[in-house]
C-alpha cells in the first residue's frame, strides 16, 4: 500500500495538538475506513464525535483553543450528503461567519480547517490529517503566537 | 522573428543530415530563427542508457544546462531519440530535486530546470500555428502513412502532446500539405531502433513488417520524424530489396521534407537526393 509515512514524533520537534469535531455519519465513518484500510497518518489528532457538524457551537472551538489545541479541524458530510438533510449546510453558514470573527482575534487559516470527508473517503481522511498536521507544524505552537492563552 | 533553441544532435550532422537540412529550410520559410546551442554534446542515446545510468542523465544534463545559460527557454530536438533523452532527463529532474543537485555537482554546471524541449511534431504544429500553411505552393496529392515509431509516441511524461496508442501529431500537417493520411496499425510499432549494425536481423524483420503494411494500405510513401527509424526503413530497405523480402522500393521522407516540398522548395535542397531509396519522383519534375 502506498501511503505517506506517518509522522513519527521525536522529542526535539514540536508536536501539534489538533482537536477535530467530526460528524458521526460521514467523517467518523471515513476515519473508521482509514483504519480498516490500515492507512497510516500522524497521531496528533483527537476526535470529538458529534451527531452532525450542525451541532457545533462556536464556543466549542474557542474552548478547544483555550484548552491548548494548536489547531481545530471541522469535518462533516459533503454538501447535499448530510445524514440530517441540511445540518452541514447550517454548520457551513455559521462557520463562514465564525471564521471571520476568529480572524479578528488573529486565529486564521493556518489554525482552522474545514473539510468534507464522506464515509467512503478513508484515504482522504488520512491525507487530510497528514496535511493539517504538516501545516500546523509549520505554523508553530498556538501558545507562542497567542501568549495570553491558558495552557 | 520568433527564435527557438536548436539541438541538432549527432545524427543530424551525419546519417540524418536530411532532417537537419529540411528542418532548417521549413523554419526559414515560416520565419522562425533556429539558434543552435553552442558547444552541445551528444545526449548519450541508447548506448549510455544501456551501460551507465549516471552517464545517461549527465550527458543530457549538460545540454540542458548549456541551453539555459545561453538564454534558450525552448529547444527543438528534431531527432526523436535526442528528444526522448533530453525531455526524459528534464522530467526526472523535475521529479527529483535531489537528482538535480547530484547532477549539478557531477557536471559542475548549474541548471534551474527552465528549458522546454520540443519534438519535431510539436515544432511543426507551432509552425502551422504561425501560418506556415499559407506559404504552401505545391499540391502534393500523395497517399501517406505517418510513422511515429516509439519515441514520438511513447513515454507518458515525455510525449505529452500525443496519444501513445493512436498518435495523431503528424496528421494535421500532412493533410495541410495536401496529402491523404491513410489509417494503419504500424504507426507506433518499433523498427528495431539502434540495432541497425549490431543486430541487423531483427531490424530487417521489424522494418519489413512496417514496410509491408504501408504497401498493403496503398501508401505512396512513409513519413517519419526520427532519423533512426528513417535509417532502418530507408537504408536497410536496400538489403530487403536485395534479398527480395519486399517487392519494390517505398520512399521514406521526413515530415519536414514533406512540408518543404509543399512549400515549393527544391527536393535537393531538402536532402531528398541523399536518401538510399529514391524519392524525388514523388514531386512532378523532381527526379
Amino acid at each position: 500500500m502506498k501511503t505517506e509515512k506517518a509522522d513519527v514524533p521525536t522529542p526535539t520537534t514540536f508536536e501539534p495538538r489538533i482537536t477535530a469535531f467530526v460528524c458521526n455519519w460521514c467523517t467518523y465513518a471515513g476515519a473508521d475506513l482509514a483504519g480498516t484500510s490500515r492507512l497510516q497518518y500522524a497521531p496528533n489528532l483527537r476526535i470529538i464525535k458529534l451527531p452532525c457538524t450542525g451541532r457545533i457551537d462556536p464556543l466549542f472551538v474557542l474552548k478547544a483553543f483555550e484548552n491548548g489545541a494548536d489547531a481545530v479541524l471541522v469535518s462533516g458530510c459533503h454538501p447535499g450528503d448530510c445524514h440530517y438533510t441540511s445540518g452541514n449546510y447550517h454548520a457551513r453558514r455559521r462557520w463562514t461567519l465564525f471564521r471571520k470573527l476568529l480572524a479578528l482575534t488573529g486565529i486564521g487559516d493556518d489554525r482552522l480547517f474545514f473539510s468534507w470527508v464522506s464515509a467512503a473517503e478513508g484515504q482522504k481522511f488520512a491525507d487530510l490529517v497528514n496535511d493539517v498536521t504538516a501545516k500546523v507544524r509549520k505554523a508553530g505552537p498556538f501558545q507562542a503566537a497567542h501568549p495570553g492563552r491558558k495552557a | 522573428m520568433k527564435t527557438l533553441g536548436y539541438y541538432p544532435g549527432c545524427s543530424l550532422s551525419g546519417g540524418g543530415i536530411e532532417l537537419d537540412l529540411s528542418v532548417r529550410a521549413i523554419a526559414k520559410v515560416a520565419g522562425v530563427e533556429l539558434r543552435e546551442i553552442e558547444d552541445w554534446n551528444c545526449c548519450g542515446a541508447s548506448a549510455a542508457h544501456s551501460l551507465d545510468h549516471s552517464l545517461a542523465v549527465a550527458l543530457p544534463f549538460r545540454v540542458l544546462a548549456l541551453a539555459e545559460s545561453q538564454g534558450l527557454s525552448e529547444v527543438l530536438a528534431p531527432c526523436a531519440a535526442c528528444f526522448s533523452r533530453l525531455k526524459g532527463t528534464q522530467v526526472r529532474l523535475t521529479r527529483s530535486p535531489e537528482l538535480g543537485q547530484r547532477m549539478q555537482e557531477l557536471v559542475e554546471r548549474p541548471y534551474n530546470g527552465t528549458v522546454r524541449i520540443l519534438n519535431i511534431n510539436e515544432f511543426v504544429a507551432s509552425l502551422l500555428a504561425e501560418g506556415l500553411a499559407g506559404k504552401f505552393t505545391r499540391k502534393l496529392g500523395l497517399k501517406v502513412v505517418a510513422y511515429y515509431g516509439c519515441l514520438l509516441s511513447r513515454g507518458e511524461d515525455i510525449v505529452t502532446s500525443d496519444d501513445a496508442e493512436d498518435p495523431q501529431g503528424m496528421a494535421a500537417a500532412i493533410r495541410v500539405a495536401g496529402c491523404e493520411v491513410l489509417p494503419w496499425n504500424s504507426s507506433n510499432e518499433c523498427c528495431g531502433g539502434g540495432f541497425s549494425m549490431s543486430k541487423t536481423g531483427s531490424v530487417l524483420d521489424l522494418s519489413q513488417a512496417i514496410l509491408d503494411e504501408a504497401r498493403a494500405v496503398g501508401a505512396d510513401l512513409v513519413v517519419t520524424g526520427c532519423p533512426m527509424c528513417h535509417s532502418n526503413l530507408d537504408m536497410r530497405q536496400l538489403e530487403l530489396l536485395k534479398r527480395r523480402r519486399v517487392p519494390g522500393a517505398l520512399p521514406i521522407l521526413y515530415l519536414s521534407e514533406l512540408l518543404g516540398l509543399a512549400a515549393g522548395l527544391e527536393p535537393g535542397a531538402l536532402g531528398l537526393g541523399r536518401h538510399f531509396i529514391e524519392s524525388r519522383q514523388l514531386v512532378r519534375g523532381g527526379a
Binding site: 513519527v8 514524533p9 467518523y28 483527537r46 458529534l50 451527531p51 438533510t85 445540518g87 467512503a120 | -
Partner: protein, 658 residues
C-alpha cells in the same frame, strides 16, 4: 458520585500490538470518577462481556467506557451487555482505540498516548451521561426495491411472499435486467430466459408487488421505518392502462435503425419499442430522443395506428410519493467501456466486442437468432479470441479489483461457441482461472477437455485489424515463455464489472456509503454483508460488488429476510438522541425553528390554569426530532440541549484534552 469502569480490549493483537493496553489501564484508573479499570484480550467475547457485567454489579458502576474497536462495530453489543447487568445502556460509551488509533499509527509511544487521551475524553463524557429511554416509532410495513434485475425481482418476491407490500422501481421500460440478455447460464447451461421470465411474470402479477418501470428514485425523506420516497415516473407516451401490447405501433414506426441497448447495439429497434419480446410489462415506450413526432412534430404514425388510442405525445414526467419502512438497493452493474484501451482498438474495432454482445449473438432470441456472426460483415468467425481481465486487475487504465464472473462466463462463451461452430477455434487468454463455486472448476475443465477451448496464460498487448478484416492478437504465453500472435475473426473482451451510472448519486440520496469504484458499502464486510450504514437500507446483487446470479439471488433473499425481520414488529426502537428545550430560559427567538430540518421545533404556548396564554416558547416534537443538534448550536440563550451530546458533555470532553 460517578463510579466509572473502564474496560480496555487488546482485540487479539489488533490493538495490543501498537497500544500498550496495561499502561492505558493504569492511566485510566487515575482519571477522575474512575473506580475500576482492566484490560483483556477479547472484550467482545463472552468472558469479556461477563467481566463487564460482573463489574457493573459488584462495583456498583454508574457508567462504563469500553475502549476497543469503533462503536459502529460493537457499541450495540456492549450496551446490550450493560442492560443485562441492569445499567441503562446509554450510560456506556466506547473509545475507538482500533480504527482510530492502533490501525493507523505505527509508533507505540505515540499511539499509547493517543489511546489514553481517547479514553480520558470518553470517561469525561460518560461521567455526564444520563439514563435515556429508547424512542418507539411505528413502522410502515412496505418495502421499496430499487432495480428490477434478478436481485431486485428475487428480493421483491421474497418480501411479498412474507405477506408485506413491495414497490419495485426499475429505471428501464422492462424488468429482467441483464439476466434477460444472457444466452445460457453457467455451470448448468440453463436457458437464462427460461428460468427468469416466470419470475418476471410472477413479480408483475403478485398482489403484494407494485411495479414502477421507467421510473427513478428522485429523493428520500425520513428514517428507517418511515421513509417517504419520491419516484419520478418518466413519460412513456403510451398509456399502459389503454395499451394491450398488440405491437402494431412498433411494427409500423418508420425509424428502424436505432441500436437496441438490450442487444448491445447489435440489433435494431424503433423509436417506439419494447426492449425485447418477453418484456414485463409488455407495453412499449417512446424514446423521445429519437422520435420525429416528439422532436420535430412530424409523423404521428403510431397514434394513427393504435386501435386503443393509447399514444399520448403530451405525456410528461410525473412525481409519485411512496411511504415505505425499508429499502433494498439492487441497482446492479454494467460492463466497463474498453474504449480506454487504445491498444485494443480504443472501441473503434467492430469485431472487438464485449461479453454482453457475445451473449446476444449466442442467444436464441438475439439479433442473429443464436447464430454466431461477427458484427462487421456477418461472417461466421472461425477463430475467436477471448480476453479475460480486460480492465480488471489493472491499476493503470482500468480497475484494481477482480470482476469475479468473467472466468466463468468466458469458459461458457468458449463452450457455446464450440457447440455452435464445430470447426471453430476458441482461444482464451487468461491470467488466473478463478472458479471457486459449486461445479465451477468442473465446468472450466469441461470447456478445456471436452470442448477443446485453448487456454493461453498471459495478457494481450495489442489487437490490430488487417486490411482483410482479420484481427491480429499479440499476446504472451507466459508458461511456455514466448510471445504468441493469433489471427482471429472475432475478439471478445471480458470487460470489468462496474456499478451502473448514477449509483453514487442514489447512494447519496439514501445515505449509503460507496467505495472508490462506486460499489455500495455493506455495514460490515464479514458479519453484516446485507445491511448498510443507513438503517433500514439493504443491498442485493452486483451493486455491492461483482457477483454472479446465484450470489445475487442469495443476497436478495437475505435482504428480504432482513426487511421481513424489521417488519415483524409494528414499532421499532431508535436511539433517544433528541433535543430538549428549557422552557424557563427560552426567549422565543425562533432561531431553532428556522434551523430545524425536520419541522420538529415548534411554537408552544405556556398556559395558566385558566387556559390563558402566559408566554410562547419553543417545544421539540420527539417523534419528528432526529437528533442532529443544529437547534442546540444556534440557540442564543443556550436553552436547547441535545441528549447524548449535551453542551456540558462536549465541554467536559474538551477539558479532558487539556
Amino acid at each position: 458520585m460517578a463510579r466509572i469502569g473502564v474496560f480496555i480490549c487488546h482485540c487479539g493483537e489488533n490493538i495490543g500490538r501498537t497500544v500498550d493496553c496495561p499502561a492505558v489501564s493504569a492511566a485510566a484508573v487515575r482519571m477522575p470518577g474512575v473506580v475500576h479499570s482492566v484490560d483483556y484480550k477479547y472484550m467482545c467475547s463472552d468472558p469479556g462481556q461477563q467481566m463487564i457485567k460482573k463489574a457493573i454489579v459488584e462495583m456498583k458502576l454508574t457508567g462504563v467506557v469500553v475502549a476497543a474497536c469503533s462503536p459502529r462495530m460493537h457499541e450495540r453489543t456492549f450496551r446490550a451487555a450493560a442492560a443485562e447487568a441492569g445499567l441503562n445502556p446509554f450510560l456506556l460509551e466506547m473509545a475507538n482505540l482500533r480504527e482510530h488509533c492502533s490501525w493507523v499509527h505505527a509508533d507505540k509511544a505515540a499511539a499509547t498516548q493517543k489511546a489514553i487521551d481517547l479514553v480520558r475524553v470518553m470517561v469525561a463524557k460518560a461521567r455526564r451521561d444520563r439514563a435515556l429511554r429508547p424512542i418507539r416509532v411505528p413502522v410502515e410495513p412496505t418495502a421499496l426495491v430499487v432495480g428490477g434485475g434478478i436481485a431486485g425481482i428475487q428480493a421483491a418476491l421474497d418480501i411479498a411472499a412474507g405477506g408485506k407490500k413491495v414497490v419495485l422501481v426499475e429505471r428501464g421500460p422492462s424488468i429482467g435486467g441483464h439476466m434477460a440478455r444472457l444466452s445460457e447460464t453457467f455451470p448448468t447451461l440453463d436457458c437464462s430466459q427460461c428460468i427468469l421470465t416466470p419470475r418476471m411474470v410472477e413479480a408483475a402479477s403478485h398482489p403484494n408487488i407494485t411495479l414502477m418501470t421507467y421510473s427513478e428514485v428522485e429523493s428520500v425523506e425520513g428514517f428507517v421505518g418511515n421513509f417517504t420516497v419520491t419516484v419520478r415516473h418518466k413519460a412513456r407516451y403510451v398509456d399502459p392502462a389503454k395499451c394491450t401490447g398488440c405491437g402494431d405501433c412498433f411494427n409500423k414506426c418508420p425509424l428502424k435503425n436505432i441500436p437496441n441497448e438490450f442487444d448491445a447495439g447489435l440489433g435494431m429497434r424503433r423509436a417506439i419499442y419494447v426492449p425485447f419480446p418477453q418484456a414485463v410489462p409488455n407495453k412499449p415506450v417512446i424514446d423521445a430522443a429519437h422520435c420525429t413526432m416528439l422532436q420535430k412534430g412530424k409523423c404521428g404514425l403510431c397514434a394513427k395506428i393504435c386501435p386503443r388510442g393509447a399514444i399520448d405525445y403530451k405525456d410528461q414526467d410525473s412525481l409519485v410519493k411512496v411511504k415505505v419502512g425499508a429499502v433494498v438497493l439492487a441497482t446492479g452493474f454494467q460492463l466497463w467501456d474498453h474504449a480506454a484501451y487504445g491498444e485494443y482498438g480504443g472501441g473503434r474495432l467492430a469485431d472487438v466486442i464485449d461479453g454482453f454482445a457475445f451473449e446476444r449473438l449466442a442467444s436464441a432470441s438475439g439479433p442473429t437468432g443464436g447464430l454466431i456472426k461477427r458484427p462487421s460483415d456477418g461472417k461466421e468467425p472461425k477463430t475467436i479470441v477471448f480476453l479475460q481481465c480486460c480492465g480488471s486487475r489493472d491499476d493503470k487504465a482500468g480497475k484494481k479489483y477482480c470482476s469475479k464472473i468473467c472466468c466463468m462466463y468466458t469458459a461458457k462463451h468458449a463452450m457455446l461457441y464450440r457447440h455452435k461452430v464445430h470447426d471453430g477455434r476458441a482461444v482464451v487468454f487468461y491470467m488466473d482461472v478463478r472458479a471457486a463455486g459449486k461445479g465451477y472448476e468442473e465446468f472450466v475443465r469441461r470447456a478445456l477437455s471436452d470442448d477443446g477451448a485453448e487456454y493461453v496464460r498471459g495478457r494481450v498487448s495489442r489487437i490490430t485489424r488487417k486490411q482483410d478484416g482479420t484481427l491480429v492478437v499479440r499476446g504472451a504465453d507466459t508458461l511456455a515463455g514466448r510471445p504468441v500472435t493469433i489471427e482471429a475473426d472475432l475478439v471478445v473482451l471480458a470487460d470489468a464489472v462496474v456499478p451502473r451510472p448514477g449509483s453514487e448519486k442514489l447512494a447519496q440520496i439514501f445515505g449509503v456509503g460507496y467505495d472508490q469504484d462506486g460499489f455500495y458499502s455493506e455495514a460490515h464486510p464479514k458479519l453484516r454483508p446485507v445491511e448498510t450504514a443507513a438503517a433500514g437500507v439493504f443491498l442485493a446483487g452486483a451493486c455491492q460488488a461483482p457477483k454472479d446470479i446465484p450470489e445475487s439471488v442469495a443476497q436478495a433473499s437475505a435482504s428480504a429476510a432482513k426487511v421481513l425481520g424489521l417488519f415483524a414488529n409494528p414499532e421499532l426502537e431508535r436511539e433517544p438522541i433528541i433535543a430538549r428545550v428549557n422552557r424557563a430560559t427560552c426567549a422565543h427567538c425562533r432561531a431553532c425553528i428556522s434551523a430545524c430540518p425536520y419541522g420538529a421545533a415548534k411554537d408552544f404556548d405556556v398556559l395558566d390554569r385558566a387556559g390563558k396564554v402566559l408566554r410562547t416558547v419553543v417545544d421539540v416534537n420527539e417523534g419528528l426530532c432526529q437528533g442532529c443538534g443544529t437547534c442546540a448550536a444556534v440557540c442564543r440563550s443556550h436553552s436547547v440541549d441535545l441528549d447524548g451530546f449535551t453542551g456540558e458533555q462536549i465541554h467536559a470532553e474538551l477539558n479532558a484534552l487539556l
